[in-house]
Symmetry: C2
Subunit: 494 residues, 2 copies
């Protein structure tokens, strides 16, 4: 088990896990003497995934680990020194490579804790520090945070579908996007709501409970199914779950019951059966009846077969008698939306004479894609212990006494803030490159995720057309942003 998920598994330097343009821009800033101009970037997504009402932040532990190990090795520098431009000259001059050799991360980082519920436009991370460094880390932070946030959110939705009492086992490694696509997916799935995994490496690395049954091939390796179950029970008399659909599912259930009876004679109890194909509602109801009639009401019914939150919901509505859900491909790849569109945008730069901030904005034809300037903080307001609205504000400016939040997509929608209970979501993680936050354990983040999701109104949690949780800009920030857009946008005659 490890608090340093990347560096314990991978060779120390993953500093080159980046897009080339981070390095070409770094080179450009270095040539202009701009490397140390103070800058502020925000990492955020614009829209919650899966047409859902929320996301669950995850991946910060990986991001912290990556930042703490940011260092260009001699091998890295040799590679960068070997790169050539189209005319055959070196891409980077030696002085820049020497600069990279000595580079140490000295930024401030503020981030939302893993397991926190977050919404579109809210910075999951804020990086403040020397422009070159704050830019350089973009790609790795996006890679590590985008994916785990996506999967933790998927797992939270699956937890909503199965309810609080059923078990969720994550079985997706074989269909994952590369092995780390499996490993980090397992971590995020557990954080978001899974109870266990088949992924042994994730068990070893993160202390996640590991679970498993057996494959069809186990049954095929014996003369008959009943013999196969007997032999498996011989190895795991108290922990057998028999896969019953190798030849015929209900015949398989009957064979499982025969073996369960022999187990009971020897003082053991069958753990469960697993359905992996066919009509899971019909088969689970039939299996439950057979098991109950034979005196095995506690034998669990595990089901798997391309399940996701929609299918689980349908099976529950149809009366399926499943109590343990094996969720694989659809969870670890977030099959219906396999990427979270997180972005990383420059929001402020210190003036060249260090006299104050210049705020920056990225325009777009779509207002939803226009960035938010400032040194942002998220304030979450509560009423009766429940979150009621979030406000993004520029923490470098004073706040008025009466707070008003403005919908960034429809500025005519405004709400005065009437509650005095709030919490600020971005908390200090690094100060001048030194980590100042003791990260929570994975179990703690998982607990937080569950509490956070259940604290949301059911209308925000539902799958179909969820209610939009209010996230607004503090009015002063909204007005400043509007002004900045008007300044930057070329005014064309109609």
């Amino acid at each position: 088990m490890s608090d340093t998920p990347l560096s314990s598994l991978y060779r120390p330097s993953l500093t080159l896990l980046t897009d080339l343009y981070q390095l070409t821009m770094a080179y450009g800033y270095w040539r202009q003497g701009m490397q140390d101009r103070e800058a502020v970037f925000h990492l955020y997504f614009r829209k919650a995934p899966f047409n859902g009402g929320y996301a669950v932040a995850a991946g910060l532990a990986y991001a912290v680990d990556w930042l703490e190990n940011l260092r260009f090795s001699e091998e890295d520098l040799a590679y960068l020194g070997s790169l050539r431009g189209s005319k055959g000259g070196v891409m980077f001059e030696q002085g820049f490579l020497d600069y990279l050799r000595d580079l140490r991360f000295t930024c401030d980082v503020d981030a939302v804790a893993e397991g926190t519920v977050v919404f579109g436009n809210e910075p999951l991370m804020r990086i403040q520090g020397p422009l070159l460094q704050a830019q350089l880390v973009e790609t790795a932070l996006l890679t590590l945070v985008n994916f785990q946030t996506l999967i933790a959110t998927k797992a939270a939705r699956i937890r909503e579908a199965v309810g609080p009492n059923d078990q969720i086992l994550e079985f997706g490694l074989r269909r994952a996007q590369g092995f780390d696509g499996g490993l980090s997916a397992t971590r995020a799935a557990y954080l978001g709501g899974a109870d266990g995994t088949s992924n042994v490496l994730a068990g070893q690395q993160f202390g996640i409970p590991v679970r498993g049954t057996h494959a069809h091939s186990w049954v095929m390796a014996f003369e008959g199914e009943e013999e196969a179950f007997d032999k498996y029970a011989d190895a795991f008399p108290d922990d057998s779950v028999f896969l019953v659909d190798t030849y015929d599912t209900l015949e398989g259930v009957r064979n499982a019951i025969k073996v369960a009876e022999r187990l009971r004679e020897r003082g053991h109890e069958l753990g469960g059966i697993r359905l992996d194909s066919g009509d899971l509602t019909y088969l689970s109801v039939q299996a439950r009846q057979l098991l109950d009639a034979a005196g095995f009401p506690k034998v669990r019914i595990v089901a798997s077969n391309d399940l996701d939150e929609q299918l689980v919901t349908a099976l529950k509505l149809e009366g399926a008698r499943i109590d343990t859900w094996g969720i694989g491909t659809k969870l670890v790849t977030a099959y219906d939306q396999p990427a979270l569109g997180g972005v990383y945008k420059l929001a402020a730069m210190k003036k060249a004479d260090n006299s104050g901030w210049d705020y920056t904005i990225k325009l777009s034809e779509q207002l939803a894609k226009t960035s938010i300037p400032g040194i942002l903080q998220i304030r979450r307001f509560y009423h009766d212990g429940k979150p009621v609205a979030d406000m993004l504000y520029n923490s470098a400016e004073p706040l008025p006494e009466q707070l008003t939040i403005v919908d960034p997509l429809d500025p005519t929608r405004r709400r005065p803030v009437q509650t005095t209970k709030y919490r600020e979501l971005l908390e200090p993680v690094f100060r001048q490159g030194k980590r100042v936050l003791e990260l929570p354990t994975l179990a703690e983040s998982r607990q937080r995720a569950r509490e956070e999701v259940t604290s949301l109104d059911p209308s925000t949690r539902r799958f179909l057309n969820p209610h939009t949780y209010p996230v607004g800009l503090e009015r002063g920030l909204h007005e400043f942003r509007t002004q900045l857009i008007l300044e930057k946008r070329p005014q064309r005659p109609a």
Copy 2:
């Protein structure tokens, strides 16, 4: 650059990259004394991804690396020894852990070379050897081969859409599924048809050409866009590609032209401009006109923004003037089908007395999901140098003189084989655990992929309702399989 993609980057032992059930089955076989019974497994998918007509095999180099480093470390054994069953007893007894400590991979492995075009039901890998070992490797092989085959296929389709002359740059790292989801995706994308990548780690590890432009933040870090372009050109006078849509795209093109003119005065040429939002057809046509009119017909137009093969095809049809395609999220996550459903099925076991083979089959309600018994080889027949049909046959049985292939989904569809030109796709990779195959370089596999895809009939290569390339069972194998299904399926009265 490395031929050992996993072990050079990751800590040596990734042996626990597996599902727990591989270990519980291993324990069961060991308890039954069945660990060394010879078994044959096939790794295959049932249906080409993206509703396409073919797939491009990839991932073998990773799989080989993983197999060559298969070894349980003391740390692994300590973890396995720490696992407990529901009654609190150890999951695995000490004798089994000692067995694992000494375990060395001794199987034979045959595989289809990376870059080969493959179809549903064709084994990409065949593992033959001691049952326990051949089962144990299932998960890792699936994880490593499923994903890279998926991405190489996606890249090959995008290559088909852009045509042979345009450039494809893979830009997906930030939205990849974990960092290895990015790294191995970049490898597979290059193998399948991309020309370069933004992913620096992939450049270092695999020698893939790295390319990049700059971010919007580069423009935002300066007073104005023109200044930003000037400063970038100062760093890369012969290799600048300007991102022109930070504030207003066509204004950005005009600014790029001003800087290109100044570059030319100093003896340099602007490389390109990049469009990253808006109507790419309209903007690329306008940009081309502006550039051409200003005397810059060779400045390339790079476009990006959630592109995939369908969108590229549409843009081409609409007359977009794009010559370099930046493809990110949709490529590295295979967005429209983010998992290949590869499976790993037991197909034969030596009889306990070693007197011959018992062939095994996994039944399913759907014939398409019923496995194929035998020790399979794929024979690809050619006519005039083009592949015309593939035959799966049991290499342990003699072949008749007149070959006939039978469609596994519709046995009334049969074809006599009339050509004598063929090649066998599965080639020896390991013999008794020792690697016997010198793996091709990534560049060679990439070359092979392109040749293989272009050797297919256009009707098989098209995106919409592609023609089904004929893959059949050798008639003897078909008849044997039918008999085995009838034997294994319980006969219920109608």
